[in-house]
């Protein structure tokens, strides 16, 4: 009887990306020669989804661009925890200007590189949901409309985290934040139920070459999307969902699990689009009811307890259902 040789590997630093995969299929993170664009020593919280997402994205971009990138970063958690005076954990050319202008600063950098004939240098802009969906939307739209050669990455942890967890236009309904507190009428506690504000769809409406959503739960997918974006020119946008243990009130060891649940409930759809049309979506293999996702986060704790808030949980479920149907995420 033929036997199959089973390889056992010592787990440790390099388990990320699955070393059982063929070399060519491994993630950038699995390589020893990954650039660590966001190096260790930064001051992010334990379990920070944004730190993870940024490292994933920047390393993938570095590989795609043969290390020739410049990054413009908005004010926010990422900027603050990565550059505590007098240190920096960035191993890439990096600049921080203001809260709302990352996209415009990137436009300027790209123009300078073009003028100087440095065609190999690729420009990225990055910011949180605050700096992207709210205060930075004007500059972002301008960059999109001009089709400037910039890849903008938004790390969405669904609130203004660095200033103490205040509500942004990316904050999901019912979520508790410092400015959408759980007080008074229960039916109104936490963030309001509104229409939401999908910057990926806004980006799509600008008809730019590439738009995608990604999650820290799916490293391969995230890296593939960044790599694909880096292979294109013009305005590109990637929106990455990044749980925040502090702001969401979740266990720091649950970050990836929660990110995966967000995808599997349908609350965070994964898709790609080009020139205004959705071109690909990641179907949900195993649909999960929203409670499983919400229960792990104290920011939704008021929906549960002795008397669960069934109507509002149902409204959240309806949002998930609508996403699944709208984006065609059913298997």
């Amino acid at each position: 009887m033929p036997t199959q040789i089973i390889k056992f590997y010592q787990t440790g630093t390099f388990t990320v990306g699955n070393r059982l995969l063929d070399e060519s299929q491994r993630t950038v993170q699995a390589r020893m020669d990954r650039t660590n664009g966001l190096d260790c020593g930064h001051r992010a919280c334990q379990g920070c989804g944004e730190a993870l997402g940024a490292r994933y994205a920047i390393d993938a971009a570095m590989r795609a661009a043969h290390n020739q990138i410049v990054v413009a970063n908005a004010t926010g958690c990422l900027e603050v925890f990565s550059t505590p005076y007098p240190e920096t954990s960035w191993q890439v050319a990096w600049m921080h200007s203001l809260f709302g202008n990352a996209a415009a600063v990137a436009t300027g950098i790209a123009a300078a590189m073009k003028v100087k004939g440095r065609n190999q240098v690729r420009v990225l802009a990055q910011g949180g949901d605050g700096g992207t969906t709210d205060i930075g939307l004007g500059c972002l739209s301008g960059m999109f409309e001009r089709n400037d050669d910039v890849l903008y990455i938004c790390y969405d942890n669904e609130a203004y985290m660095n200033t103490g967890v205040q509500r942004s236009s990316a904050t999901p309904p019912a979520a508790r934040t410092a400015t959408t507190p759980v007080v008074g009428d229960r039916a109104e506690s936490g963030a309001k139920f509104g229409q939401g504000k999908s910057v990926p769809l806004i980006a799509l409406a600008h008809q730019i070459p590439y738009v995608a959503t990604a999650s820290v739960a799916n490293l391969h997918d995230l890296e593939a999307k960044v790599t694909k974006a880096m292979g294109l020119h013009g305005a590109r946008y990637i929106h990455i969902h990044v749980p925040c243990p502090l702001g969401w009130g979740s266990a720091s060891s649950d970050t990836i699990k929660i990110a995966r649940l967000a995808v599997e409930t349908g609350l965070f759809p994964l898709f790609e689009g080009e020139y205004g049309e959705i071109t690909a979506r990641t179907p949900i293999r195993r649909r999960v009811p929203v409670e499983e996702y919400l229960k792990l986060q104290k920011r939704f704790a008021h929906l549960f307890g002795a008397e669960p808030d069934a109507p509002r949980i149902a409204m959240i479920q309806a949002i998930a259902d609508r996403n699944v149907s709208k984006f065609g995420l059913d298997r």
Binding site: T83, M95, S97, G108, I109, A112, V115, G138
Partner: protein, 417 residues
Amino acid sequence: MLRQIEGSRAVAETVARCRPEVICAYPITPQTHIVEGLSEIVKAGHLKPCEFINVESEFAALSVAIGASAAGARTYTATASQGLLFMAEAVYNASGLGLPIVMTIGNRAIGAPINIWNDHSDSMSMRDAGWIQLFAENNQEAADLHIQAFRLAEELSCPVMVCIDGFILTHAYERVDLPTQEQVDAYLPRFEPRQALDPDQVMSIGAMVGPEAFTEVRYLSHHKQLRALERIPVLSEEFREQFGRASGGLLRRYRTEDADTIVVALGSVNGTIQEVVDDLREEGVKIGSVCLGTFRPFPLAAVREALRNAGRVIVLEKSLAVGIGGIVATDVRMALDGVSARIYTVIAGLGGRAITKASLRKMIGQAQQDQLEPVTFLDLNVGIIQRHLERESKLRRSGPAAENILRDIGLVAARIG
């Protein structure tokens, strides 16, 4: 080359000869002709390599400039009034980061009430942001100052604002000697940045600085401006040697040697003041004027030196420190600390009101009779003020002040002066 040309056009053509690599601008009256001129020049291929970017707001304009300058490109933009305020955060950011951006301000009043005409309130609002501020007396200087500005900015790694009176200069046709490319190249070398975003020489720009070092960083920007006080006259002198005409510098004195009364002002009103000085001198009055070419850094020593022997100093300014009086006058008083002279603040020309020889003569006459208040508003219509205050005291819902006053004075377009 001598041209009869609109001020804005002269600025555009001169800026183009400074070889900016990135130009980004958002239109606002009265700067529009400058950016239109530059877009034409770039599009026609007369300036290359240059990226001309149409941005979606003034905040974006200066932000794009910040990115481009940080990446080592010579960068230019222009704005005025509301636009300067809209980019205020970026104004402080640019100087804090030490980026040598040159920006033209087409001086215009700030609303409310909305007003498109000239005064200096916009530049004054940013006077403490760390930018060097130069003021042009006429369109020749408006053009020339940009050449000096790029040189100064890049030498010191400090952004520079070139301020030119909106409409009065921007939209005026005047004789201007436009420099040749060779002349500019001989004066303005290639931009060699102190810092540049470069994947081959990785660095982080824009870190957070806490109490341990913030004061030192701020002191260094103060120090930069003090160095500018020395460099500005030197660069102006070099300009004179290279281009054959006096331009720029800290200040210019007109008939002040034996003057009892000296009028101090910024910008184009100096031309009118000099006419009045000449007329009065012919009548035997010992009067002179000082044209302040540099407002930031404020040339305390040079101003003191120019004014110390006058018994009477009249600071005529197109700006108002609401609740105090003068902005320029406050700085002049600081320069004259310890010197005994009567200092008068005359607020004039706000929102584009014409400053006439007749009004100036009258005001100076009053000063000479010691009948001028320490702070006055030139040509203030006291009747309107009184009527409005009465209106307000009688009725709570008295309506918007500006609209009430406009109704009082009738159609604006029917007036000449």
